[in-house]
Symmetry: C2
Subunit: 391 residues, 2 copies
Amino acid sequence: MENFTFFSPTYFVFGKGEENNTGALIKRFGGSRVLIHYGGGSVVRSGLLDRVKSSLEKEDITYVELGGVMPNPRSGLVYEGIKLCRRENVDFILAVGGGSTIDSAKAIAGGVPYDGDFWDHHTGTPIQAALPIGTVLTIASAGSEGSPNCVITKEEGMLKRGTKTDLFRPKFSILNPELTCTLPAYQTACGATDIMAHLLERYFTDTKDVEVTDRLIEGLLLTMVSETPKAIADPNDYQARANIMWAGMLAHNNVCGVGRNQDWGSHKLEHELSGLYDCAHGAGLAVVFPAWMTYNMNYDVQRFARLATNVFGCPMNEEHPEETAKAGIEAFRKFLVSIGMPITFEQLEAKEEDIEYLAHTCCYGNGGSGKVGGVIALDEEAVKAIYRLML
Amino acid sequence: MENFTFFSPTYFVFGKGEENNTGALIKRFGGSRVLIHYGGGSVVRSGLLDRVKSSLEKEDITYVELGGVMPNPRSGLVYEGIKLCRRENVDFILAVGGGSTIDSAKAIAGGVPYDGDFWDHHTGTPIQAALPIGTVLTIASAGSEGSPNCVITKEEGMLKRGTKTDLFRPKFSILNPELTCTLPAYQTACGATDIMAHLLERYFTDTKDVEVTDRLIEGLLLTMVSETPKAIADPNDYQARANIMWAGMLAHNNVCGVGRNQDWGSHKLEHELSGLYDCAHGAGLAVVFPAWMTYNMNYDVQRFARLATNVFGCPMNEEHPEETAKAGIEAFRKFLVSIGMPITFEQLEAKEEDIEYLAHTCCYGNGGSGKVGGVIALDEEAVKAIYRLML
């Protein structure tokens, strides 16, 4: 195990009806003038936004609103939010929504006290200060409710870049699984795939002797394998939604990723797909991950075989562990199909003739070094080969 | 899953040599006049205390010292610490040691800003303020480095009582597995048993559909089953020590216990044993837990069978799950024996003729209601029967 630090100071409030305590929580964490940040109309139509506003009014907290966050949140709205917060002397930002809304809120929070362009934070300038953030989560997926991460897309050139700082860990996050019961099956499955991908990016490591985090990851993957089909079959299965929601937070606050190298190559390959074809991130990951695994299983066949036995229940073939590893990948692919995820280029409406371009931008775009992946370093040819496995 | 809150704001610094950063961490968290609190001579003899002091001196942090914490920490030293902190205007308490030292430091931290007797905090008075605490952990066991809990024994009547508050969550905890490599095998095994007991108290629940926390607990138990024998066989196995140390924190900061009823009956039965015979807490738990499980397995035989299959690798007997449950308890008992733990009254030098007294104080001592256990409520007769299973 490598030396590490772990800091997850968010106050998590989990369960039915907890969004009605948003105002009290903002007060507890020192907020008095709030920006309520959200995405599309669903939080309005469902009445969630009204319930949240009522809870603020009950505590005499003043607020302004900024809606319109899109998936793959854009810098334009961030600039608008920063201006609004400064004009209104906002001292607390509340995100009501999923990962995109929370990330947009984080970028605004970092931009308000910063003299320069907030985009600097996405190109290497360390973040020195940020307004406090709270969240009311509406989809189990990105894990941004407990993570230090923030990914924003700059409209010019559609540059998608992440940054992170412990200042972006929310002061509180309200996780009410009921709020996720209205999600369509497809979005539920995309969220679940994203959660599993966060776990797998940490699982495929070259750090030796990390049994405790291996076991935590396997436990969370087993949870996803067991609970996701239940939430797909019955959207109102509260218990399944609850198990998925807590797993989603733990998959990305890094409690199960500390002290070990992590890969994140598959995420890079996927970013190119959602960038070019505007597919859902989770759907893209469903196509990428099994292909990435197939290409790379010989890098450490025992680890792939371990995943197969411990998560997908495949029998271990001691003499031919590569057979076990293959069976595990196949089981994962079948699982993805069973929850309605795509697994081929065609299903994403992605095109074979774009592979050259995709592989090149994946390796060299966004200032890339030519290599992709923290554990298994892929060059452009390898990335091309993996894309071809998705045909 | 029940509604819950989860708050674990401690900054964990994990790895080799990290105790040399103690001073910088105290500074980061606002400390300038420190009480260094510790136990016996081992932290002195090993040079750890000197390294910690040097790191404080490097940051120009002044300090006073108070050693002498004993296992089952006593109120007498807490009163002494409170006086010392007030006299010296201490603004930060640093515990260097294991659970007893950390708990003693927590009690002092709560006592300094409190006008009355700190013991009030152990008899129902809520804790309103506490000095900030940091820890340098030297044994993986109690989990106090990440928990809100504090257990103190009052000399008069040897009353052992716990309290908890999020104010007792340490600001930082330094976890260097190397510091645990000097522990004798017996203490290592006692610590491991304590960690497993913290997990099992949470595992045996009557809350339904808590797959995510079930899987986390099983993952941490699997880690303990795999890593403890390695640390016993080779005390200098850094990786085994590291896996155990992180598991020990996670076993008790409640990340795997949220949203579910927990039992804690076995801990109550054990407290009577260590109270009367002054045995190590972990050793007492090794004797109690398998007996408690044997007595209670029919309460929910499927759960005991699940433990047997998922943690101890027993084959599932679908027709007779009670056979699987029994095999799991037997496997746990064998595991405890293999790491050198006692499993009978005799090995603890406990006496059959004390059972009446033990069961009575267990149920009615410390203001007890006559029932023990949050999930399976045991009366005095049941407690007696369980003690008899340890003969």
